[in-house]
């Protein structure tokens, strides 16, 4: 049917075009109506049962959500595509578009019954995930320099309600009342699925519900307390999921990367507490750990059960899994005056035998003689001689690295002191200066991310990071060896007291200064672990071990691990050989000697040691893994395949075993099995570059070109930029005071000019 008469003329006339243009301009420029976000909330949490049926509540919620979307969507900045409301983050919600913030029942609503949980949560980091100055300062810089849409990366975890309700856009129409509650009860307790373990908010949230109906359908929004009390099983089904107990749940936010949409550069891994755990002894998924332990999840340490003080329906047998999530953050409770949380945090940091500090050895520099392990060997000291103390710090029972996560902001370091009997200090490393800054020459477990100008990325401007000049964190289960050299004064009197301690401060002083200016109170410094020994000037007999000391075989083992990580293979082999001498029944001692030989490319020696371990424990996965590498080098492909197949059978979630078995199959031209292994590897770690690379090749061979291209692109963005080290070198050139920290083997001295001592110290 054709348009005739006046209507047709109107549609095509210039006057109509002007009319429509004006109308549109009026709509665009007129002040916009804002959205009342709290529509779905009731302040009184009605005690009477809700008369509406589940169907009506579902329909009401869907209608409210449609209306909310119609108001919010037109002005939302879809900078990363119409379907990407949370990019550069990954937070997602079931259903179309945004979800109205009022759909999230408040913490007060939950706290009406769950009083203990509410009380703990209010002081915990999760409830304060957004509002703290420590977070806001850095995210505000992102907003002010790149735009608020980029903050969706951070807020996917720090304020998911704001992201998923469309609050992160210029001139937002959303009431930001949710800011003060950060991760409220109904953010975590509404998560229905996990996307993967890629992090950055890799969860899929459902529309919050306090009840499911008799068919198991989620009934959105608050339910009356009367309804909940009448259907506790249905309440539990609405707010609890099996995944909440798993480490992968924590991985959704305790793993992060800096993706290309954020930095306009490439994928850069940011932090990986989940990966750290997966590679630790506590996961029992990694056959290659130096020590073993009982299976413990993230929740096992950070959500320990304890008797509840306040009424708590979630408690079982009088205990409740803590919703304080104690960890390392002392800054937030200190700022807010949350004394209970601060005390819990400090107690947590000091408990658990997480670290072991061992004054392991003395190197008498002038004589070229090493006394180790200290306390077990007699020795003598004389005034005027120069000695080097070898301090071994073991990350003994932390399920992640020391320091985890935001290593550019958190600060852990070794404080080392040598004092005379009269209290006079001979040497002090790792002191705090009057201005609150840490001694630059301290051995710290931090890192130094840098930008393209080779400048330390202060203020957590993560989108400018292009390289890391050094990273001195200690992975879970490993050890580090720190050397302190000092000269005993000629007039020294009485015994010397030598102390090494590991301190922790949340946050680094320069970052605190960035936030508050320099006129802020001193933030807490917590001593995590310490060890003191008294050394006589003259004769020193062996001394009894202190209760917290590791046995001598373990002290040697930790020294061997530290030497291995410092690329001192001969000293590492020597240390591990002492382990074998003290514990001939300990298969790992032989394996460790074997590993050091593999690293040193002495394969025949390595094979002999690994064989000894396999004689003790014929099917020991750790030994089989390293033997498989030796078989590969020797061209014994069948033996290599058999060993790795057995390792994967015992440890199906081992990244290393899956990767190596994939390579074995690939080299045997068994593409189908190789594909299977690399796909499994990608399931364990979606960011594994070897998986991306090999899958791109395998898919191409199999004619799956789209998948091949996708994997090739992921490999290209995730592999290390070969130019990145130049930015690190530029930084190190400009910072001679800490350049030695980037060298695995280095010495801290009481002189301003630090001289490296010759290696092979245990051989003398």
């Amino acid at each position: 049917m054709s348009t005739k008469g006046p209507i047709r003329h109107l549609a095509s006339s210039p006057a109509t075009m002007v009319f429509l243009a004006v109308l549109t301009a009026g709509v665009l420029f007129a002040p916009r109506a804002h959205v009342q976000a709290q529509a779905a909330q009731s302040a009184e949490y009605q005690d009477a049962p809700d008369a509406r049926t589940a169907d009506q509540k579902i329909a009401d919620q869907e209608r409210d959500r449609r209306e909310f979307n119609a108001k919010v969507s037109p002005s939302y900045n879809y900078a990363f595509g119409k379907d990407n409301i949370s990019t550069p983050g990954n937070a997602a919600v079931e259903g179309p578009g945004f979800v109205q913030p009022g759909a999230f029942p408040t913490a007060e609503y939950c706290g009406h019954c769950h009083q203990e949980a509410y009380h703990q949560w209010r002081q915990a980091l999760h409830s304060n995930s957004f509002r703290t100055p420590f977070y806001r300062t850095s995210v505000n810089i992102l907003i002010n320099t790149k735009g608020i849409e980029f903050a969706r990366h951070c807020d996917s975890c720090h304020n998911p309600v704001a992201v998923l309700s469309g609050g992160l856009t210029e001139d937002s129409l959303v009431d930001r009342k949710m800011d003060t509650d950060g991760l409220t009860c109904t953010t975590c307790h509404s998560i229905q699925k996990l996307q993967s373990t890629a992090g950055n908010g890799g969860f899929i949230m459902g529309v919050p519900a306090a009840l499911v109906d008799e068919k198991g359908r989620r009934i959105p929004g608050e339910a009356s307390y009367a309804d909940i009390m009448a259907h506790l099983d249905r309440h539990s089904k609405a707010v609890m999921q099996d995944i909440y107990h798993k480490p992968e749940f924590c991985a959704a936010c305790h793993k992060a990367n800096l993706p290309n949409p954020l930095n306009g550069y490439k994928f850069i891994p940011a932090f990986s507490a989940y990966d750290d755990w997966q590679n630790s002894k506590f996961s029992q998924r990694n056959p290659l750990t130096f020590y073993q332990a009982d299976f413990t999840t993230c929740q096992g340490c950070h959500m320990k059960r304890a008797p509840n003080v306040l009424p708590e329906p979630g408690a079982k047998n009088g205990t409740f899994a803590t919703h304080s999530w104690p960890a390392g953050n002392t800054a937030v409770p200190f700022y807010y005056g949350f004394d209970e949380q601060l005390a819990k945090t400090i107690a947590f940091l000091k408990a658990g035998n997480y670290l072991n500090v061992d004054l392991f050895a003395l190197n008498k520099v002038d004589e070229g003689k090493m006394i180790a392990p200290l306390g077990s060997e007699p020795f003598s000291l004389t005034s005027g001689e120069t000695v080097q103390t070898l301090v071994v710090i073991q990350n003994k029972n932390i399920g992640h690295s020391l320091i985890p996560e935001v290593r550019d902001l958190y600060e852990a370091w070794v404080e080392f002191t040598v004092k005379q009997a009269d209290g006079k200090e001979i040497y002090h490393s790792g002191f705090i200066k009057p201005n609150g800054m840490l001694d630059e020459r301290a051995h710290s477990f931090t890192n130094r991310p840098v930008n393209t100008g080779g400048t330390f990325v202060d203020n957590h401007k993560v989108w400018t990071i292009h390289s890391v000049a050094y990273d001195n964190t200690v992975p879970a289960g490993r050890s580090v060896l720190v050397r302190y050299q000092f000269t005993i004064p000629k007039d020294a009197s009485g015994p010397l007291t030598v102390t090494a301690r590991v301190n922790y401060r949340h946050l680094r002083q320069s970052y605190l200064n960035n936030i508050f200016g320099e006129d802020h109170p001193a933030y807490p410094i917590v001593e995590l672990a310490t060890r003191t020994r008294v050394l006589n000037i003259g004769k020193n007999d062996p001394t009894p071990a202190s209760p917290d000391d590791n046995p001598d075989w373990m002290r040697w083992n930790n020294a061997g691990i530290a030497y291995l990580d410092q690329l001192q293979y001969i000293d590492s082999i020597h240390a591990f050989a002492q382990v074998v001498k003290l514990r001939p029944d300990y298969a790992d001692g032989y394996i460790n000697v074997g590993i050091a030989n593999i690293e040193w490319e002495k394969y025949a020696s390595a094979r002999a040691e690994i064989k000894k371990a396999l004689q003790l424990y014929p099917n020991y996965a750790r030994a089989l893994y390293y033997m498989s590498l030796l078989e590969r080098r020797a061209g014994h492909s069948d033996a290599e395949l058999a060993d790795l197949t057995e390792v994967v059978r015992q440890f199906p979630q081992s990244r290393d075993a899956r990767r190596e078995l994939g390579i074995t199959y690939y080299q045997r031209d068994d593409d189908a099995h190789a594909l299977e292994q690399f796909q499994a590897l990608q399931g364990i770690d979606p960011d594994d570059v070897a998986a991306h690379y090999n899958l791109s090749l395998l898919y191409r061979r199999m004619g799956m070109m789209d998948k091949a291209r996708e994997q090739a692109a992921l490999f290209a963005t995730k592999k290390t930029d070969p130019l990145a080290p130049t930015y690190s070198l530029a930084f190190l050139r400009d910072h001679p005071e800490i350049i030695t920290e980037s060298v695995p083997w280095h010495v801290h001295t009481d002189n301003s000019t630090e001289e490296a001592m010759p290696p092979r110290e245990l051989q003398r």
Binding site: P14, A15, V18, R32, L173, D175, R176, G337
Partner: protein, 171 residues
């Protein structure tokens, strides 16, 4: 039936009339308060707020939100000042609260709350605070002696919430 020329002429006249009447609205700058949006202020005031943004001096910006409900007028004012001499300038701000001030923990670098004593209002409270070198003064008031959403207690609670929001955006 009228001729097409007639409709064209009428449409042009209508469009012209609309253009003229719409121009003020179209040209009006859309005001944005950088520290708290209209939706949030509306939540605080308990109704749809109107924002007026002023710059009394190059270093001072004021956002004033008001909401009228019958005879009652509720008002939220956010004033931000960039200080050049922290020690001297902030002392003057602190003096605005005097001895009646209640310290507020965890708002900016430091903060106090005190009665505003604003003539013409029934209940009124003030917060004086700073984030580094930015001082801010907040005022929340109602003209109604008994307003269900603006009691003295709720005004203090709401003002603390606004103070946290504003300081968060200033950090």
């Amino acid at each position: 039936m009228r001729r097409p020329e007639y409709w064209r002429k009428r449409a042009f006249q209508l469009a012209l009339a609309l253009l003229v009447t719409s121009l003020p609205a179209a040209c009006q700058t859309h005001a944005v308060c950088p520290w708290i949006n209209v939706a949030t202020a509306s939540g605080v005031l308990g109704g749809e707020a109107t924002l007026s943004l002023t710059n009394p001096s190059p270093t001072v910006t004021t956002c004033r939100f008001d909401y009228k409900s019958g005879e009652e007028v509720r008002e939220l004012t956010v004033q931000i000042t960039a200080m050049t001499d922290l020690g001297k300038d902030y002392a003057l701000f602190k003096a605005m609260c005097g001895g009646d001030a209640t310290p507020l923990r965890a708002i900016g670098n430091e903060a106090v709350m005190c009665p505003d004593n604003n003539p013409g209002t029934a209940h009124s409270e003030r917060v004086v605070s700073r984030v580094r070198n930015s001082a801010f003064v907040l005022r929340l008031s109602t003209t109604a002696k008994s307003s269900p959403v603006m009691t003295q207690d709720s005004i203090e609670e709401k003002l603390r919430f606004v103070a946290e929001l504003v300081s968060g955006n200033l950090f």
